[in-house]
Structures are given as structure tokens and as C-alpha cells.
Amino acid sequence: MLLEKVQTADAAAGAPHETFVLNLGPQHPATHGVLRVKLTMDGEFILRAEPVPGYIHRMHEKMGENRNWSQFLPNTSRIDYLSAMTYTHAFVLLVERAAGLEVPPRAEYLRVITSELNRISSHLVWFGAFLLDLGGFTPLLYAFDDREKILDLLESVTGSRLTYCYYRFGGLCNDVDEAFLSGTRDFVAYMRPRLDMYRQLVTDNIILRKRLEGIGKVDGEMCRRYGATGPVIRGAGVPNDVRRVEPYSIYPELDFRVPVYPEGDCMARYLVRMDEMEQSLRMVEQAIAKLPEGPVLGKVPRMIKLPAGDYYCAVEAARGRFAIRAVSDGKEIPYRLKLRTPSFCNLSLFEEASRGMMLPDALALMGSLDLVIPDIDR
């Protein structure tokens, strides 16, 4: 490793060995939020990186214990504000499974359509912000341009652009109209050439490849140890996707590929996300083609009470496995609610993976983990 070479050379030259602490954050352009990382540095090499989360902790879990099941629903879209749909999906799925609620097929299809659109928009934000971390400013604006189209579509059905609270226990809050469906079809047709353009302009850029290939190696074993999921573990060669391994909703009926790259470096994680956008487009296309008619909300009791028990439910959010564990004592208010957020686990491998890296490489690694800080702190 480069650090060892430098240290040996320093020792041979009799140079005094000194380290310093660099406080990256809580306000720093590369952390994209209020994350603080205490870096112990030897020159530009990182000896130890200690993430200090908690600056925007909002006690979502405690809030869950203070309100009934449906009152917690809006909270779920504020944990990871970039993939709000999937987070709400996990919560409604948990309640539906525990209470044995029926979900009409049309609602299931629409859930997948909106979730996947949300995933694309989340990946687009990551794409722009990641390139920004690498010093390329322009892709951000292009990505946001595309994302705008998704936000407009979702706004037309859910009424909000970021913190959608669209899913309800047993279905959806309202049905979509023809404008949304045709708009989504148009978007799929529009997005494919855009992804091709990104591939040509950004992915194949020599500077980008030099900066990402072989940088920030993370293997599947390390991912397992820290519980890292999503594109991070798939970029390390492990085909772990909740939509495949613990299927929910109508995912088993859709034809999609789980992109896996074995290299485990930043480039692999980058490629996984770029491929995922394409797969999400495919899923949206198929779900729209198969979309059945019918109601979007099933029969749901006025006040939901889960039978006493311990429930667990996971979905594949844009950043990885998002899971909720809820303990019910039979009352209308959960006894305990635990959120397992992917960003938190993905961040925890940063300390080990960044050891001995240079500062810009470590920031590339951090960018490739696609952290959303409220998701870490929740």
C-alpha cells in the first residue's frame, strides 16, 4: 500500500513521525449533510476515520412508540428523504402482514411503479452528488433535470415532491390517472437515451475511471461483518437484493436482473447503481404494461391493532436493506419500533475500509457508499 511505502521511506530518512486530527464536518462539502468524521491523518493519508453521527437525530424510533400505527406513517418518508416510497412500503408491508390485510393487485403494481421511480430519482441524486465529490460539477445539473421529471410525476399523484406519504395500510391513498401513466411511459422512453449519454460522457471518462477503479476495496466478507447492503454488497460480488431473496409485493412477477459486480471498488458500486436505474426502468415498464384495473384500497379497520407479537419486515431501499422490527403488545400503539437503516450500516464499514487511504480517495469511497445523513441518524 502507498501509505506503508511512504512510512518506510519516512522512517528510512529519519523524518519525525507526526499525526494530526482533521475534523471533517459536521459542515463539510463532502459529507452532504451534518455528518462529522474525525480523521487521524499522517500527511494526506488517513490512519483512522471515526464517524460521529447524531447531529440530526430526530428520535423516529421513540416517536413510533408514542403514536398509533397510522400516525407513524408520515414519519417513514422522513427517514431517508431520497427514497421515501420504499421506506413507507416497508412500514405498510409490516402492518399488512401482521394484521393480515388484503392489498388489491392494482395497488401492489402502483407501489412498485412509484417505488422504482423513486429509486431512480434517488440514484440520480447520488449520481450528481458523487460526481460533485469527485470535482465534476456538471453532471449534477443533468441528473437533477431528469429527477425533476420524476418528481413532477410523483407530485401529480401524491401531492408532494419528496416526502410522499402515498401508501396506506391495505393499499394507496388515491388512484393514478391516465396522465401519470402516459407521463411515466414517456419518462421511460426519455430516460434510456439519457443513461446511454451518461455512460458515454461520464462512465467512460478516463479521469473518472482512474479515480474509481481499484479505490475503496470492500469485500463481501467485510460487508457481512458490518451489515452493509444494497449497492455496496452487490458491488462486492454478493447478489443480495431483498426484492430477490425475500420477495415482497409483485417483484417475483417482474423480470429484472440484479446487477452484481465482483470488484468491490468504487467503480463497481458506481456501475451497480447505474445498472439498477436501467433495471428499475424495465420494472416500471413491465408493471405499467400489466397494471390491472380495480380498487386501490382494500378493507381496513378504522383503528389498526396488531396482535401481540414481534414483527420484522424488510424492503430493498435505494441504499440497501431497510427493515423495521415492531413489537406489539396488542394495543393501538407499538410497544417498540426499531428501524434498521442501510446508510448506518454502510457508514460503519467506512472506518475499516478507509484505513491507509488518501483523503480524496476516502471521500470517493464515502460518496460511493451513498450516505443520507438523516437515514444514519433517524
Binding site: 482533521l22 462539502p29 465529490d133 469527485l134 470535482g135 465534476g136 460539477f137 445539473l141 479521469i207 479505490i215
Partner: protein
């Protein structure tokens, strides 16, 4: 019309300063507008028609800000650094011939002087970073020194190659030697050196690195080092660094235009004049802006590897090739 000597110098001093000031201000506007066009947005539009008064508004804002000096900083060096970064850029422009009879001084050692003063720029930014007593600034200071040491060498090799072709360090004479159509420009002088276009590209890359422009903006690297060496600077202290960056781009691109693209010479051999020089200058400046908004930043060791492992061997090779060619023909 020729003014008597002291007045002529004063006029040129005022002229060069106005030129640099105006250019620095309006290159910021060009950069912002250009970046906006690359990014499908309109850019500044509010202040004045097409945002043309935006630089003035920015300057007024920067001037009205307090000049903060961090308590731990070395006050003298901290204040001195912005001046030291701006003054050499102005000095360099004194030797640049804009037109046949338009130049402050036609020095026999013009080219040498430009590079001598150009190197001070690095030291000034390094001092600014060092004096700030800020960790990001010190990392940036260390980076900029190693970066500039690495890129000064291929740049010098390229310039030596060119000197062997032109046989003079007087910028005026270098331009005059390229008179008569674009095939006489040094960049197309394939007899002396069949790799002349490559030499020009090397010069351009080194120039980008020397002026700390993307994709080599290691010193500023806003997503890594916040604002690098300029982190602690507020108000006009930062403003001067900012202007100096554009002044240095101006010097680098002027030299590029003079050394390789025939300065004020017209590509057709007739109607030579200052307009051609400005056209070439701004074409190069636009390329600099274009590159910045197109490429991501390089990694630091990638940057050093590019210099030590590729640019220096290639430019050394070109140097040898040129001397052989000149001996043979």
C-alpha cells in the same frame, strides 16, 4: 503617437491593470455564463442585461466585507499573500506584446521573466495557506508546491524546445518570426519538430496545472479541502486570489497564443493586428473554462504520475527530437 517615456510607462501600468481587472471580472462572468450553458441553465441574469453587471455587484459585495484575520494566523504573511499572488501576474503582462506596437516593454529576456514571475504565484498561495494556520489550508499548500514542482519541469522543457526553434526569448521577435499565414505558426512548424502539436498540448496541460484549474485544481478542491489555501480568506482577500487566478489564466493563455499560435499574426498573412491576438487568447481561455466544467478532478498522485511518468519523458523526447531535427535540416 508616442508618449514621452515616464508617461508611457504610467499609461501602460494603468492600461495593464485595467486590462487585468476588467478581464478578471468579466472572465468570472464568462465562466459563470459558460458553465451555465454547459449545464442547461441561464446563469446570472438579474444584474444588468444578461447579468453583465454581476461582476460589479460581486466586487462591491466583496469590498464591503470585513477582512477577517484568524487569531492564530501569521498576520503579515496572511495579508501579504494576496498581494504577492496578484503582483507577479501583472508583471508578467508587462512583457506580453498585444500587437505589433502594443506592449509595455519589449524585453530581450521576456520569456524568462514571465516564468520567473510566474513561479512566485505558487509561493504566494503556499504562504497564504501556511499563514492561515488551518489544516485544510496547509494540506492545500503542500499539494500546490508538489504539483507546481512537478509541472514546472515539463513546461520548461516545452519552452526550451520552443526556444531552440525560435532562437530568441524576446516575445516580440517570437511573434514576428511567425509572420505570414497560419502554416508559419510554431504549432504547425513540423519541420523543426514533427510533434509540435503534441508540444502545444503538453504546454496547455501544464498551464492548466500551473494555474490550478480543473481538472488539476488540487489546491482548491472544494469537495475535499473546503476552499484549500483560501479557506480562511474573507472579503477582498479572497477576491484578490480569485482575480489572480484569472490573471494567471490570462498570462498562460497569452503565452500559449504567442509561443504557438503566432500572437497577433493573422492566419492568412494579411490584416495582422491586436484583434487576432485577443481572438486566440480568448479561444484558449474558453477552452480552459470548457475543460473545467467537463472533467472531474484528478486524484493527486494521478496528477503527479501524469507529470513525472508521461509528460516529462515525452517532453524530454521532444526536446531531443527537435535538436536532432534542427541539426539535420
Amino acid at each position: 503617437m508616442t508618449l514621452p517615456e515616464p508617461f508611457r510607462l504610467l499609461a501602460y501600468l494603468a492600461g495593464v491593470m485595467a486590462f487585468v481587472g476588467l478581464n478578471a471580472a468579466y472572465l468570472v462572468w464568462v465562466e459563470r455564463k459558460g458553465a451555465a450553458r454547459f449545464q442547461r441553465r441561464p446563469g446570472p441574469t438579474e444584474v444588468g442585461p444578461a447579468g453583465l453587471l454581476q461582476p460589479l455587484a460581486d466586487a462591491a459585495k466583496l469590498l464591503s466585507k470585513q477582512l477577517l484575520v484568524p487569531p492564530d494566523a501569521d498576520r503579515t504573511l496572511f495579508r501579504l499573500a494576496p498581494v504577492m499572488v496578484m503582483a507577479p501576474a501583472l508583471m508578467c503582462l508587462a512583457t506580453i506584446p498585444f500587437g505589433q506596437a502594443l506592449g509595455a516593454r519589449s524585453l530581450d529576456l521576456g520569456l524568462v521573466m514571465v516564468f520567473a514571475f510566474g513561479s512566485i504565484n505558487v509561493m504566494a498561495i503556499m504562504l497564504g495557506g501556511w499563514a492561515s494556520r488551518n489544516k485544510y489550508a496547509i494540506i492545500s499548500a503542500a499539494r500546490i508546491v508538489s504539483q507546481n514542482v512537478a509541472y514546472e519541469i515539463p513546461m520548461m522543457l516545452v519552452v526550451i524546445t520552443l526556444l531552440m526553434v525560435t532562437g530568441t526569448t524576446n516575445l516580440q521577435e517570437i511573434v514576428e518570426g511567425q509572420a505570414g499565414g497560419f502554416w508559419r505558426w510554431n504549432v504547425f512548424d513540423l519541420v523543426a519538430n514533427p510533434l509540435m502539436p503534441v508540444t502545444f498540448v503538453i504546454y496547455f496541460i501544464c498551464m492548466l496545472a500551473e494555474t490550478n484549474r480543473a481538472p488539476f485544481d488540487m489546491a482548491e478542491a472544494e469537495s475535499e479541502l473546503v476552499a484549500g489555501a483560501f479557506t480562511e480568506y474573507a472579503g477582498m482577500g479572497f477576491g484578490v486570489f480569485f482575480m489572480a487566478e484569472y490573471a494567471n489564466i490570462l498570462v498562460g493563455c497569452s503565452l500559449g497564443a504567442i509561443l504557438f499560435l503566432g500572437g497577433w499574426q493573422s492566419p492568412f498573412g494579411v490584416f495582422s493586428g491586436v484583434g487576432w491576438f485577443l481572438l486566440k487568447l480568448y479561444a484558449l481561455v474558453f477552452t480552459v473554462v470548457w475543460v473545467r466544467w467537463t472533467f472531474p478532478r484528478t486524484q493527486f498522485y494521478g496528477l503527479l504520475n501524469l507529470s513525472w511518468k508521461i509528460l516529462i519523458p515525452v517532453s524530454l523526447g521532444i526536446l531531443v527530437l527537435t535538436s536532432v531535427m534542427l541539426k539535420l535540416f
